[in-house]
Amino acid sequence: MQTSGELLREARGRHGVSQKQLAMRAGTTQSAISRIERDRVSPSVETLRELLYLLGEDLSLSADQRDSGIDRTLNAERLKLSPSVRLEHGMAFGNQVIANSPLPRREAW
């Protein structure tokens, strides 16, 4: 994912606008633009939107489902079971892992 700084720097580059010019348009300082582009500061969404607007671009935000590597079908199958059965399966699975793990065991009762 792009950082805010990368996004702004690339947009500015596409329009051939210098940091100083953008700062002038925005009523801020060149160093403030530089800090954003170097990701030294994280601008608010509104600030980033305004700076891009001043470059003739619109900021669009989107949120996409993250691929976290979780097997959703496995979870969907678990949800078909009652909580008691889920816990029983969980205990059996836990004992299976314990039986096959090379990790040391803690004390038994």
């Binding site: 959703r72 496995l74 979870n75 678990r78 816990l87 699975f93 836990g94 314990i98 009762w109």
Partner: protein
């Protein structure tokens, strides 16, 4: 709540640990990996964690339940004196026990949890082994796992987010 570099002798027998708590009327909420499993998590969990209300009467009931289960401090020298009574519980907060039915963590607070009252209010009632058990909501489990921050907790956060999605879809399908 447990050492990541070792495993207990057995996975917890949830019915044997939760049954006495319910029989003695203990005000508690199931949290941790077993709570996650009850919500549908596929990750194994090697101990059972509960949060309990700190009121004196509840602590007295908790002590009776722990006495029935049979507990001793996990990882403590066997000759370390440990008196299981209300005063001991009230003077402490979080206790990690070993029991005949697996590792059992009895906690007054946990990283990332809201107040006990808020946790309890958002908990869901789940029927387990013939009892109704209050289980921390997935949202609060996510907050607690995120605060714990170990590798296995981060994995759990990812899975619980997915589970919450799946539960929502399942709920919508039921309507």
């Amino acid at each position: 709540m447990s050492d990541e570099r070792s495993l207990p002798a057995q996975a917890p027998e949830a019915d044997k640990l939760l049954g006495p708590l319910i029989a003695h009327g203990v005000d508690f909420v199931l949290i941790g990996g077993q709570a996650g499993i009850s919500h549908g998590s596929a990750y194994p969990s090697y101990d059972l964690d509960v949060l309990y209300a700190r009121g004196h009467d509840n602590v007295v009931r908790l002590v009776a339940a722990l006495d029935e289960i049979g507990v001793r401090l996990r990882g403590a020298p066997k000759d370390l004196p440990f008196v299981l009574d209300a005063k001991t519980i009230e003077n402490g907060a979080n206790f990690t026990f070993i029991t005949p039915y697996g590792d059992f963590d009895v906690l007054a607070d946990a990283d990332g949890m809201p107040s006990y009252e808020d946790l309890r209010a958002a908990a869901v009632d789940r029927e387990m082994f013939g009892h109704i058990v209050k289980v921390a909501s997935l949202d609060h489990l996510i907050a607690m796992k995120r605060a714990a921050g170990r590798t296995k907790d981060k994995l759990a956060v990812e899975e619980y987010i997915v589970l919450a999605d799946e539960q929502r879809k399942a709920d919508e399908g039921d309507r």
